[in-house]
Amino acid sequence: MISLILHRVTRVIIHILLIFSIFLLLKGHNEPGGGFIAGLMASVSIVLVYLTYDIETVKRFMPISYPAMIALGLFFATGMGLGGVVLGYPFLTQTFDYFQIPLVGEIELATALIFDIGVFLTVVGATLLIISSIGEGS
């Protein structure tokens, strides 16, 4: 059974939710947020889609393999750490710097962000894998 209200609302809100989650991810280093929170946020929004539509539809819209997403997330997180090792720092060493970019002004780029993206991907992958598996398992 499909609820019309839910359908319409979801269509609108999903974009906001996902963008909000990216926003949380990016500002995590300086304000509340971060990879994990953002990841959960994104997952919950996609769960909303699952709740609204059926699994087949979601699969059609998002042909993503969650295990691969997890692997990718772990790859980012670990790869960032290994990068340090290659350059002669201990495993998982982070660094950051401020860059002057025309028009935008000074922004901070930290390797921690790469790590956070890894966290984000893993969290999204794992949460959705869990929920979709149970959903499918019936």
Binding site: N30, P32, F36, V123, A126, I130, S133, G137
Partner: protein, 113 residues
Amino acid sequence: MIGLLAIIIGFLVGTGTYLILKKTAFKVALGLVLYGQAANLLIITMGGVKLGEPPIILREAGISYSDPLVQALILTAIVIGFGVTSYLLVLVYRAYQAHDSDSVDLFEEVDDK
């Protein structure tokens, strides 16, 4: 305040204990979730109660912040707890499927062929 928190922790643990002593896997899982929340609350109390601003640096002098370390620890603990709980829940559901029972007790000859 600390008294309140300690009592809440006590209630979480007590209720959790009451639940894990039940026979159905579902209740035990609920109890364990409560236990996890008690642990989180306990850790944050150990960082001190009401000591200052949220640990987000304001770059002003003379501000005291609450303990950020415990918060980071709890974050990690929450995530881990979440992972394990979700796995446990699925296990409960699969175990039910396999044996048509929600009981946590093992059956007599579970392991002997």
